[in-house]
Symmetry: none
Subunit: 416 residues, 2 copies
């Protein structure tokens, strides 16, 4: 059984990072389908035709992304039509969905003529609804080979893949069982995590009719440990993963903040809801990033009440009541100001917790010579106010991200 | 002239994002070399052999990354040896560099036996120094085809590519000059941009010794138009791009917000600085995202003074002075509340502009039945207060991003 991914778009060959392939191969892994090759190719008719002809010859399943848009350089449909010898047929109900999409977005003019193109479907293909954009996906069976066409934008591809493609392939091709478990850590260096877990990872383990493997992945949020176990006996696999997971928790403890699709902000949200506590935030150098992450979680209005971004001394004084003399004596980036900010926002908002952040995101040091990356994070609770100092490195955006990770992790650890 | 990139490593086919290909293709573009295909393939001898045989047949230059490490699954050297029929020869000076690497890192034990493997070089290959790790790169000429082998870790690949590979390829193959120009738009549907620019893009144009091409790209910030021009005459290319750029501006006007590395927030920042105006923001459903984007720009403290995220009715009343009766009569997501929020934040902060956002990010509609994606954006200036209504679609995060794009674009258009 060979499965191949073809990513279409000239942008992929001039410097754009391709993330669709990683997404699709990971998802296919969950139903035991292994990808044997991934090809990126530009919007060039002849090149694309060669790629598809070869791929269909080699593989049983060919999944293509991109080139389904309404513009002149979107030619995937036409290429597949030529390669498989299937006609492109105008589909009224697809055209209707496209119109509905424009109506929903309160688009006032006429629907652009070029969108008509997207209503053409390959003869005999199954149409996959696009819940976000205008290009429908298609699944085509041709001479015993499966060809799946998906839109390129990840926001359109992902819901379509999960709702339609994965269930389809699972039913037809599932090969044994593969389970993965991801454990997320934050604030720990990769080599530290690596050394800590070495004794678990290095043990030779056997799993009947399958295998166990591990990976360490770095992301802007921290270091992830991925456990993969495959085989035929679902109960055995689940038990194996559960035991391994417990070994990792035994070693890293609270260093692990969550699993799989959980994010630092979703974990923090769950704890706030469980403990029925409320939160307000006073940010300076992070400029609203922490509040933005907190509010990425649906239902966050239950615990998150307000934030202020006090980017100037004047607003720190007026909104949070920071003392003039504290600012003069210690500077805006100081333990003392972080303390008063946390105290001020908690009092203003009347919440259980007040989080404060003041620091230097760079690229230049402060006018008083404080270094880039210096930051103070304060947390006022109903009991006390604690301020932590950090020194981060990286670009302005890296530093903002790292501060937001540390802030959310402080919230998490204080609440549990 | 065909150039192909082959990325080797099983991790690339189970969910890892491949960034080497984007890096290499971008660098090759600077010397006018276009990549016609990128292939990712696992550490599998037979599959890898097929991939190399086909690639060498098709292309003049084949650049491979990965599979040069010391472990059992690193087999790139062996595969190339078999495909090109060149022997692998133990190279003492490479072995010495590997030893030096271990000494530099204060490694105490004996050099692991498995590193010996990395000292084998293909017969006749040029050796490329690895300044960071142990695996040297190699450039091999075989039957008039160039094969470049590079280590997989980006930290090792990049310095080697810049120091050795790019100069080598530049000297042998530089095909004139390639210039690109990206024009960014926001708030316009992709098909609308396509139809608008069709008459420019459809004209057959000639450029002596080179070519002109166009691409349309969708990103979360909007739709980009990319112009690429290649040739030998630098002045002619620059003039061509300048003229094309003016044609696009003639058609899309203020729809184009910036070029190349500019972002919506950096463009807004430049205008604020130029006009010496100041800004404060009151956000609700975006939860701080707009302030976060504004403060991603270095130097934003010159014009951005403060933001508040009033996520509850209570904070809207207390911080911004929204009237109880306005909230009761129209609801928090209303034109009237957006108006009062913009007025309130401008007055509080004493800035020239007060931006306000209230809406429903989803995934659930409001308790009063207002739909997901409904949003009001208000802007109070020294002259007046204007509120715009929008209806966005997508996930919670998509909607937040789209609202932030629209908000920044309103700022941009009001200021120019």
């Amino acid at each position: 059984m060979h499965t191949e991914i073809i990513c279409i778009g000239s942008e992929l060959l001039i410097g754009f990072v391709n993330k669709n392939s990683a997404y699709i191969s990971e998802k296919l892994g969950t139903i035991g389908l292994k990808v044997s090759r991934e090809i990126s190719v530009g919007d060039d008719f002849e090149e694309l035709k060669d790629v598809f002809e070869e791929a269909i010859k080699r593989s049983n399943i060919v999944i293509a992304t991109g080139g389904l848009g309404p513009t002149f350089d979107d030619i995937t449909r036409e290429v597949i039509s030529e390669v498989t010898n299937k006609k492109l047929i105008f589909n009224k109900s697809v055209m209707k969905s496209i119109s509905v999409h424009f109506v929903r977005r309160h688009y006032r003019g006429k629907i652009p003529k070029s969108n008509d193109k997207q209503a053409y479907v390959l003869e005999g293909a199954e149409i996959l609804q696009n819940s976000i954009g205008t290009a429908p996906g298609q699944i085509l069976e041709s001479n015993g080979k499966i060809i799946v066409l998906l839109p390129g934008p990840p926001g359109e591809l992902k819901p379509m893949f999960e709702a339609s493609v994965l269930p389809y392939l699972k039913e037809r091709f599932e090969r044994g069982i593969l389970r993965t478990k991801i454990l997320h850590t934050t604030g720990l260096p990769e080599s530290f995590v690596n050394d800590k877990i070495k004794k678990i990872v290095d043990i030779e383990r056997e799993l009947e009719g399958g295998e166990i493997s591990f990976t360490i992945l770095s992301s802007p949020e921290g270091v992830d440990i991925k456990i993969m176990a495959s085989g035929r006996d679902e109960m055995l696999i689940d038990k194996t993963i559960k035991n391994l997971k417990e070994e990792f928790y035994g070693i890293l403890g609270q260093g692990i903040y969550g699993e799989d699709n959980q994010t630092l902000e979703s974990v923090v949200g769950e704890i706030f809801i469980r403990k029925r506590k409320t939160l307000a935030i006073a940010e300076s150098c992070t400029g609203g990033l922490v509040a933005n992450r907190i509010t990425n979680v649906p239902g966050s209005s239950l615990y998150f009440k307000e934030a202020v971004v006090t980017y100037s001394d004047i607003s720190k004084k007026r909104i949070l009541g920071i003392e003039e003399q504290t600012l003069n004596k210690y500077g805006a980036v100081s333990k003392e100001v972080a303390y008063e900010m946390a105290e001020g926002i908690k009092k203003n908002a009347g919440t259980n917790f007040g989080l404060s952040i003041t620091g230097i995101a760079g690229p230049k040091p402060s006018s008083t010579g404080k270094p880039v990356g210096l930051v103070y994070i304060g947390l006022a609770s109903d009991k006390d106010i604690i301020v932590n100092q950090f020194n981060f490195t990286g670009t302005r955006k890296d530093i903002k991200t790292r501060i937001s990770n540390a802030s959310l992790d402080i919230l998490r650890k204080s609440l549990i």
